[in-house]
Amino acid sequence: MPRLIFADLIANARIWLGAFVVILATAFVAAVAAGFIATGNAAGGEAQIGFGSIGGVVIAFTSIAALIVVSSVANLTVALQQRAYALWQLVGMRPALVGWVVIGQLLIVAVAGSLAGCLVATPFLPSIARTLFTTWEAIGRVPMRFDGAAVAWVTVGIVAVALLSGSRGARRAARVPPIEALREPDPPRMRAGWLRWIVALAALGGVTAICLPLRDESFTAISSEALILTPLFSAPLAALGPLLFPAALRAWSALVPGQMSASWFLARHSAAYRLNQSSAAIGPLMVAISLAGGLYTATLIVAEAGHARGIDGNYSIPWRGAVIILGGPLLLSGLAAAATVFMSGRAREREFALIQSAGATNPAIATMSVWEAVIYAATAAVLAAVTMLAGAAVLASALAVPLTVAVAPAAGVAGGGLVLLLAATLLPALATLRRSVPRSLAAE
């Protein structure tokens, strides 16, 4: 069995590499947070407060994106290999064993990715700390500590998320009817299962519990809760991604006539189809846009309310603070989006070859890839705008100030996401166009 596990990892390297990179990036962010907390705990005193709070903020703001990213990518990794699992059963492997092999593969990649992330983060920790604490010299001078226990926490946490997310896929892999191997099995569609509904309802309950009493709270109390309001609104949307994301994509993109161009038509269908299989391309980006937009929107509204009440204060967010809060989600969302597209590259290659054989020119296919990236980024932006507006409306109403939304930071993050998505869709498309159509269409 170990031979099969490793042989399959190598044979499907493209898919597993995507999962590995995403897990590595998640571990990198988690390692920075864990390193801060470990350093603070070891140093005690002022450093413990400083490092502890910043580590906590990084974890709090990155955890939603990390959960979405790791679980979506683990699920997608399994979903993309349905055909291989069916073939394993055809050659006589027991279905239960198929499930265990998949879990074994996920375990190997998750452990390797987590350890690699910790390894990559270690040399960067001192410089990250120095950059973030330039104005807080006492803390900036504390030697960084990232010991075995911190590595173990990061690894165990990430491996647990990856295995929990992949276990459903593994069970599904064990249930793939072998006859599927003789056909072209579609990767299974995502479903909003009972766990997602529970998470969504819990998040919605949390949002309601925070929003309802806001009107009666003091300015200081509202200000301290303002920053988490928008991220909270994005949680139920993210949890119900399988239901909401494709619907949102179809709804807004239907405003553009399909007859506008064949490239647009194909990109729209392709993006919706892939979004049905994994939300990783837009889920984390939505959270990142929503975080950035929500953060600055909350600051604007609180500042407006503060000025109206004659409370002086510095309401701007220093760039270091923005990096602490947004750095992790942005890194993960960009990488996840790119990795998702990269992982399903083989299927896209065939699709492009088929479209070429039907008479599409190379510029038309390149344009289709551009549209696909635009559609992903715009869908994430539309969903994020809903959360930003909801958060802003609640906050503005509680503080009795006009509704204001910080569009520029949200647009900036959406633009950054678009660039990464363009790289993920366009570059592989251009590479595919250099291959001959028959070779791309050849069976594996």
Partner: protein, 244 residues
Amino acid sequence: MTAVIDAESISKSFPIERGRASVSVLREISLRVDAGEMVAIVGPSGSGKSTLLYCLSGLEPCDSGSVTLMGRPLAGLGRGALARLRRDHIGFVFQSFNLIPSLSARENVALPARLARRGIRRAEVDRALTEVGLANRARHVPGRLSGGQQQRVAVARVLAMRPDIVFADEPTGSLDTTTGSDILHLLRRAAEGPRSVVIVTHDLEAAALADRVLVLRDGVIHAQLLHPSPGQVLEAVAQAREQV
């Protein structure tokens, strides 16, 4: 008769051992396909059948020789012009991966027209789907269709677009006998009138439906049979195999 395909001494080889050597797949093949003709290419595995089909259709460039499609020499055409030639004159049916997975059967059938910015009426698309017996599957995506149904959609695409030439590479290779036979008869119908069909197949019954059968061996045309019976095709292929 007007020639829709005219190939002169085409050769093709593929690099092996990381480019240190090459294997010759087609050797100096000359071939003419007339309008309305159905030509089947048969031969042992590795004889170059699919490569010949791809070279004739412009999907694979030849190393030497010339191919003229619809009166246009392929050698002088850029990628864009080749794509337009495919779009306007050629239809393909492959052994598998024939359909765009994100599009419904109806949208897959209408795809070439959409790429050509040529209006195609929904009724025309539905008529083609009805012809292949899939009128009630028009809204289904390929993932919800069986292998045979997917091949039928690919044939419906060809029927709806009425291309001048249809290239089919092992269109029945992964199908059961009955479904395969249905697909072949649909392709045979596609070759009625001015349209031509070039089909690569292992299926002797399929080959026997063609007006002309080319038996390939080691990249050269070993024999040509006019309106042969399945038995004659079998005999010719067996001879080719013996001499490999």
